[in-house]
């Protein structure tokens, strides 16, 4: 099922469950992997703002990549990293104005939100519906 991810920052309570959900659904080397979503705490009151890839229409990361390693998945609309096309030049990491493309130094891979193949896990576990999906 293809679900779209909608963020409503006003509802975020800064619990960072989304980060855990993301890390566990993208395991790396046997453990949880680097998280693609980041819930920034905003104080006071205890609130947060989830920042995650917006899958921009004209994405800076896609435009800067010299090897077309960032490809939009027609089905989910997510921009995915084709690791076998990537030469690790890391242009995309800095090109994203919101910091949504990351680099895993240890495993030498670029990572970003992939919308969990159409079923974003962060939204599934978000207790306050700051992250929601709809068909």
């Amino acid at each position: 099922m293809n679900k779209r991810l909608q963020v409503t920052p006003a509802r975020c309570i800064g619990c960072r469950t989304c980060e855990i959900a993301c890390a566990f659904s993208h395991p790396a080397g046997g453990g949880p992997g680097p998280t693609r979503i980041r819930a920034y705490p905003v104080k006071p009151p205890e609130r947060g703002v989830p920042v995650v890839c917006l899958q921009c229409d004209s994405a800076a990361c896609v435009r800067v990549c010299p090897t077309q390693a960032l490809v939009r998945d027609d089905r989910t609309g997510a921009i995915l990293v084709a690791e076998d096309r990537c030469i690790l030049c890391r242009a995309c990491v800095w090109a994203c104005p919101w910091g949504n493309v990351g680099y895993d130094e240890g495993r030498k891979v670029i990572h970003k939100c992939d919308l969990c193949a159409g079923d974003p896990q962060c939204a599934r576990y978000c207790p306050s519906r700051a992250l929601e999906t709809f068909e």
Partner: protein
């Protein structure tokens, strides 16, 4: 467009090479010089397959799958005795060139070649001249390395063998090399690659080493972002960018 690979009817997409089609449908074809993100090279000859038309006359042709376009009605065999023989021969030759490369040793073993039957190269390195690094560097936009010399004497080198001026120390070449032939050593705030020591930027936020200074400048040029953007490491960039996002939302 239907291509018959090993007797299976497969649907090819326009623009598919035989390798694209085979990989998508789970048919294994070994490759060395092929890199999904780079222009095809066609030099390692490991991906050779036999093609012929059904009912066509003459012997089947041997072609590299990475370069050969899928065509309707084409009949392809990826694992005939002849192909096995040719791949084993190519790997035998590569093993003589790079006896110490585990990439080559493993592949060769798959084709029954344990030791090369040829004369091993003197002072061998691990480079198989697949040109992946040169193509990666060109994609980076640095064009710092190329092939010097011809034939067996060819090697991947800097211009005039010793001019690392164009290299930005990004390491894309070393990270893409299928045999790990390019040496890159990071020690603290220094990266050594291509006979040159590169200074790595100290992240202005967390103090950890990040991109080399030249790489940062190169990326600034390519992305059109300010030089300051690259004074922070990828992680701090993320934090700062997140904070900007927050500002934008007006909290």
């Amino acid at each position: 467009m239907i291509v018959v690979i090993n007797g299976r009817d497969l649907h090819a997409r326009p623009g598919d090479s035989l390798l694209d089609l085979a990989r998508r449908t789970g048919i294994d074809i070994p490759t060395l010089c092929h890199h999904e993100g780079l222009e095809e090279w066609g030099g390692c000859r490991l991906c050779l397959v036999e093609v012929g038309r059904p009912g066509g006359h003459g012997a089947a042709r041997v072609v590299p799958a990475c370069l050969f376009p899928a065509r309707d009605g084409l009949r392809v065999d990826t694992d005939t005795p002849r192909i096995h023989r040719l791949r084993a021969g190519v790997l035998d030759l590569l093993l003589a060139r790079c006896p110490e490369s585990d990439t080559i040793q493993e592949l060769a073993l798959q084709y029954g070649v344990r030791r090369t039957s040829f004369v091993e190269r003197k002072n061998p390195d691990k480079c198989i001249l697949c040109n992946v690094c040169v193509r990666a560097c060109a994609a980076v936009g640095a064009n710092a390395i190329g092939t010097a010399g011809r034939g067996v004497l060819g090697e991947i080198a800097l211009p005039f063998h010793d001019d690392p001026a164009a290299c930005v120390g990004c390491g894309a070449c070393a990270l893409s090399c299928p045999t790990g032939a390019i040496e890159m050593v990071d020690t603290g705030f220094t990266r050594r690659i291509w006979q040159r020591d590169f200074e790595r930027v100290r992240c202005s936020a967390c103090g950890r080493p990040t991109l080399t200074r030249d790489h940062a400048a190169h990326l600034a040029g390519r992305t059109g972002l300010s030089a300051e953007s690259f004074q922070v490491c990828d992680r701090c960039h993320r934090e700062q960018a997140g904070a900007r996002f927050l500002d934008l939302l007006g909290k």
